[in-house]
Amino acid sequence: MINADTYKFSIFKILTNSLCKTNKDIKQYIAFSVIKLTFFLTVSILVGIIGFLIFKGARVISLDFIFKMPENSMTSGGIFPAILGTFYLVTLSVIFSAIPGIACAIYLNEYGPKGFISTLIRISINNLSGVPSIVFGLFGLAIFVKQLNFGISILSGSLTLSIVILPIIISSTREALMTIPQSMREASMALGASKWTTIWKIILPQALPSIMTAIILGIGRAAGETAPILFTAAVFYSRELPKSIFSEVMALPYHIYALITEGTSPQQQIPIAYGCALVLLFLVIIISISAIFIRQKQRSLYAKTGH
């Protein structure tokens, strides 16, 4: 076994190294200092970016900014249609992907036959999660917009987004199901419960908070994705709020992109883009924090009961 060999070899190395004692402590000090510095550098860059956007965006944000329509050909007013559009897209895409996603996770984890099809499903999920988001956009364009003739619409966009978040929902739900101890399944089955009764009455209620986390993670991803909705749903400007699922929409991430790259009067529009970026950032961070919070709580619950 490769592992055992490298392991033995490392022990040999350690023995030889330990001969020069002071030298190695200096080495350790230098190496760990470099790692620490790099870590703090990385975190401060990332926090710096967030801080910069908060600082610049906070001046723009007000209730009017969030709840008003854009005015004077997008040079003033609010971004309400973009927020609403993102809300529609995210809600529908979660609705579309939650049912097959959770079903798939249940099937793989609870029924999980070891066979060709299951392996194929697993491979598909892994690959789907690595597909570039622009490729999803093209797929949505070719199939939903053109082939099925839904046009550039909320429906096309949310269907496309639902494929983007499907692998996230499946793998996080599966993780949630895996944390339910086997003894719970046994206890229920030993009482004469059928497999589905056990899943429905025992497993799913216990996994519910973690499944919520899975869905929230999906929401966070769907809210921030831009490339999949570029050609399937989003427009820079629409005169009115969307009327049906066949309407085009404005969406927060696309709005940021459009304001900064296609804007005609940058003086007025860049501040709006700052506001947009902050709203989106805020949304995604709130979503992530709540997902992390639920998961942490669930974990400590299991740690307490000793399962």
Binding site: I117, L120, S124, R221, A277, L280
Partner: protein, 298 residues
């Protein structure tokens, strides 16, 4: 409920779940099929190798040129710059969180890194436009801040948390007994890290880098917003480039439906998909081996 109807219900539910879980396969197959179907006319008309090897990308000229070599070169340059940044930053974060941070710090840091990796790319792209691009332009004294290095830096910063989070997982999985054995032999923390922990987690770390590379290659918004968009063969990192994803995103809006331009953009997407597909399979293979390896010694 009688036994028979209960049995029937159980089977019906199992089949329903099975059919719903085929959705993942169907979507992946659908994507592959669509890409191939829409890319074939381009390959047929232009020629597969001519498309791949020609240095000219002028899709709207008359006559148009559809050589995607400059686009692939653009992707390459940006990816290499991004990896040069994200690998050291990501690994340092992973090592710090898993080996150096205190227990309390760790509980806070791990979710924090995950939080950072969930920030939408368009936000990073926006920051690049308003902050980094002007800074780069000033510092290097070049005509435009939108160039390979700008988008590479932003991509690198953006993917550092992803690599950090995945690598941290694999460092964490190294059994305590390995480290204890090294400590017991009188090695210090750094030697243990270099000689025991990192070799044991190596395949996990490599997997995380491969997955990170896939994300960088496939990332659209940052390169669309920051790389400048010139479809020429790059000679330095300070020149504008047009990576594959940004070409698709920028041109699909203008390309008329079912024209050669439209098909050729699908051809680019197909190549892009093939690259990430190979990377994913590679990552899966390595991580599977790794699971078996650690599983047997745990």
């Amino acid at each position: 409920m009688s036994i028979k109807s209960e049995n029937f219900r159980e089977k019906a539910i199992e089949y329903t779940l099975f059919i719903l879980s085929l959705s993942a396969i169907i979507f992946l197959a659908g994507i592959i099929f669509t890409l191939i179907k829409e890319a074939i006319p381009a390959f047929k008309e232009i020629g597969f190798f001519k498309m791949l090897l020609s240095k000219d990308w002028y899709p709207t000229y008359d006559p148009p040129d559809f050589g995607i070599l400059p686009l692939m070169a653009g992707t390459m340059v940006v990816t290499v710059i991004a990896l040069l940044i994200s690998i050291p930053l990501g690994l340092a974060c992973a090592i710090y969180i898993s080996e150096l941070a205190g227990k309390r710090e760790k509980v806070f840091l791990k979710p924090f890194i995950e939080l950072l990796s969930s920030i939408p790319s368009v936000v990073y792209g926006f920051w690049g436009i308003v902050f980094l691009a002007p800074a780069i332009q000033k510092y290097f004294d070049i005509p435009s801040g939108y160039c390979a290095i700008t988008s590479g830096i932003v991509l690198g910063i953006m993917s550092a948390p992803i690599i950090a989070s995945l690598s941290e997982d694999s460092l964490n999985y190294v059994p305590k007994s390995f480290k204890e054995a090294a400590f017991a032999l009188g090695s210090n923390k750094f030697e243990t890290l270099m000689n025991v922990t990192i070799p044991a987690a190596a395949s996990g770390i490599i997997t995380s880098i491969i997955l990170g590379t896939g994300r960088i290659i496939g990332e659209t918004m940052v390169v669309l917003m920051l790389s400048g968009g010139a479809a020429i063969m790059p000679t330095s990192a300070l020149e504008p480039v047009r990576p594959m994803t940004s070409a698709i995103a920028a041109e699909m809006g203008e390309a008329a439906f079912k024209t050669l331009h439209y098909y050729s953009l699908f051809a680019i997407a197909l190549i892009l998909f093939a690259i990430t597909f190979v990377l994913n399979m590679l990552a899966e293979k390595i991580s599977k081996k790794y699971r078996i390896k650690l599983g047997s010694s745990r």
